[in-house]
Point group: D2
Chain length 280, copies 4
């Protein structure tokens, strides 16, 4: 995964390096934010390549790439062995739909990731989670001891996972927590952002009389509901649908959007680009 | 079309009246905003019935309904001869997609309405409109003479149409104009309201990195982009789509949503209920 | 739920009867297969009404309806206490997605039905099912003893449920079994019927190069994949999606379509009309 | 646009050639039908690159590519100056929706192609077409003189266009005609193929009670409705929709699917791969 200032010759250099090293490209995606400006150094370039490489050729491979290619183009880059699944930690409150859907998909090997633990500020979902053979940690979040709660979560998360996903976790994470964690955090918001940011989106959607309700998966930043969007989808509602029906249909689209976003992140298909994402 | 405080016996009374008068119900739709409260006078009830009635039985029919049924339940009601299409006036600026789609549907008899005239603050679309055999009125709207422009429009619209539709009319209509007009006005907004209210929605959508863009047809009220929503739809976009591509795809969903809303209104299938709509 | 030859006065008679008996209509839907023919006795009429009725007025209510209304119009009709959920038996083979989704919705009270037992020709899913507190019956279906297997299933199903649902049950049910069962049976077929009837639909879809794959829930009849369709939906695929990806995405749309069909059936919202369905 | 047997080094060779020649890649897409087999010569590889090249470097550029790159990998390839739009000829019968939608998009510069002429076996649409400043040719197709009709069409098409598109042209083109024409032909079929191949798809869809109707754009081959699919989409219908409503909604999805397929073809984004397509 590569990003750098756009300029001629990047693909040639990367693909030539891979070919010479004996790698075989399986899949390749690229995106220029402003392709016609590349000659003049404008725009950003993003490249994602999947390739196979024989085990006996891997030693020093990444270092060589860094020296021979990445440095020349001042690339931000990372290389990931796709046989090594990302470790996912789940935070959840009491709603089970996003969590269970994710656990099912994980068990069916649909997720290309390893779920490693579940943390909740409630006890409710313990037996469901443990039935999947996963550890469940209860970390209460009383209004007067959130700092301690977040501290406890940090201990449970750091060094144990590569990404944290919020499967309807109804607590706001502090900026200090996010900084200390230093890992990507994915949230599912139950509306079509930027409509209905904040609390009670279905109730406000019902009052506004919208004809579609949606869900948005995004990276969490210090700005509430303002982080880069990974995926969104909607489902149709009518005047005849009650608030309960909004919530029921919303749950359906939430769990699908959430699972897609987690999967794509774990397949290293999402790159942040300012406050937006490039999804390959 | 009937709306009134919900209470037992409404359907029985209406259908009994129609049966006794020799009418045959073709289609019937109803909606209670709070059905379990009807026994206690809570909630609102909405009823729409299509029926046939022999020509020689129509005299005095509406009056009888008023006296025998509507008064008893304190109904707000209207009766409309569906053989008499609604007269539609179109306001447009320079974008042709919503206008042409509507004119074409009208020519194909898809609209169940009569388009009677087109008014624009530009000359651009005259020949397209006249090719459909429709009168085209150019009413300029210079910043310093909007009052005069709206006055001229009032003369062109009043008594000549039953509904005014804005097929991408890029001027804000004043509250005075709307009051003086006294007719329903339908607008197409090029975003999924309430996201991106106001100007430049596609540009803001691109900046926010949304994965879906939408369109919203709504009744115009004095509050900009705040009126009751009739219909909405969305279309998928990706990071790779330019602003121009957002606009192109948006145009596609705009014209469909707009045509649906106009059609439903002209078939008397939309009732305003506070700041929302009931669409049968 | 009422169906009969279309004719004037049906709604008036039914709603007048309900009003006089003290019932309050909560929801009403109707459909005429040929509304303009009603005066001449053509077309079929379908009516579904939900109503509340005080407990002390229920005695003899259904009988009175039969004598006073249904007989007069020669109606096919049934009345169902919605507080009494339908009993659902599930047949499944080894694929878990439709089953688990259904059990989870049942636990969340989304289904408006009672799942009472699960029968499988494999042992695989026993622990998943038992974790929901449901009995799991293993009824093998060896090619040379299908008759015995179906006999055993009949014993397990008859008198124990109101509807049988096939959550990816990969055995063909014989006409004798269906006749002896005498209950509605709902199947989920993993394609957009009538495309790709029969076995291997995803493989054939991949070979044909379709751009959408779908799922169809239908009532089972003696004609394989030919019964009345209750619900269908599709999901987009591309040339780049492997057969495995077709199957994964297909599973997603299968479980949603299946759950919708089961729910609608259990809410008494589906009427068979020849080889089609009316879904209110 | 390149296709060849998959093997290591293709991307490196192509991108190195382009870089050395001073070209700047604007967009690149690739697809391996079986990426893990590339080392052993299995699978097919497809590559599409858009690039800019200064005018003074174009002489001999394509020849050099042929000699230095294409020959080495035994590529099937073509290079197209995107500033030179494809020339499109339209065949149509009496239905105007696919035709007019295409002509609008062409006039709005949405199509990235030049529509050059319209041929019809009816006179009906002449004035509509001529209003766009396009020549309209009436070529009757009486059952006893189809051969002469096709001969006349050949004269009108050959050397005058790069692709022929059937905007609801209700005549079957003979294999002899297709062979003699030697150009790609795109058809819009009014169903979700392979469901409802042949005549009367909406009528058969209504009888079968489907819940979605669709449209399919595909390349025409000698096998009726059997050619490679370019694009498909569907729209929801219910039991309450009449056959006329099926046709009306179908027309909407037909014209969108058709316009997408024509656009993608004219942007050189579609490659035939056996009886399927790769759409970049």
């Amino acid at each position: 995964m590569v990003s750098c200032a756009d300029q001629p010759g990047i693909v040639a250099a990367v693909s030539q390096f891979l070919f010479a090293a004996g790698a075989n490209i399986i899949r390749s995606d690229q995106y220029s934010s402003d392709p016609y400006a590349a000659q003049n150094g404008g725009g950003m370039f993003f490249l994602r390549m999947e390739f196979t490489l024989a085990a006996d050729r891997r030693e020093g491979f990444a270092e060589s790439f860094g020296l021979q290619v990445a440095e020349r183009f001042a690339m931000t880059w990372r290389m990931w062995d796709s046989a090594k699944p990302k470790r996912v930690a789940v935070l959840v409150s009491r709603e089970d739909h996003c969590l269970l859907d994710l656990l099912w998909r994980w068990r069916r090997d649909e997720l290309h990731a390893d779920i490693v633990r579940v943390i909740s500020n409630w006890e409710d979902l313990r037996s469901d989670v443990e039935a999947f053979g996963l550890p469940y940690f209860h970390v209460p979040m009383p209004p007067d001891a959130k700092r301690e709660g977040e501290q406890r979560m940090l201990e449970l998360l750091r060094d144990n996972c590569d990404v944290v996903v919020l499967a309807r976790y109804m607590q706001i994470l502090s900026g200090e927590f996010l900084d200390a964690l230093g890992l990507p955090v994915i949230n599912i918001h139950h509306s079509f952002l930027p409509a209905f940011e904040g609390a009670g989106p279905y109730q406000r959607a019902k009052q506004r009389g919208v004809k579609l309700i949606g869900a948005t998966a995004h990276y969490v930043t210090a700005e509430l509901d303002g982080g880069p969007i990974i995926e969104q989808d909607v489902v149709r509602v009518t005047h005849a649908d009650s608030l309960e029906e909004f919530v029921r249909r919303g749950a359906e689209v939430e769990r699908m959007v959430f699972a897609r976003a987690v999967r794509w992140h774990c397949e290293d298909r999402v790159i942040r680009h300012g406050n937006t994402t490039v999804v390959f």
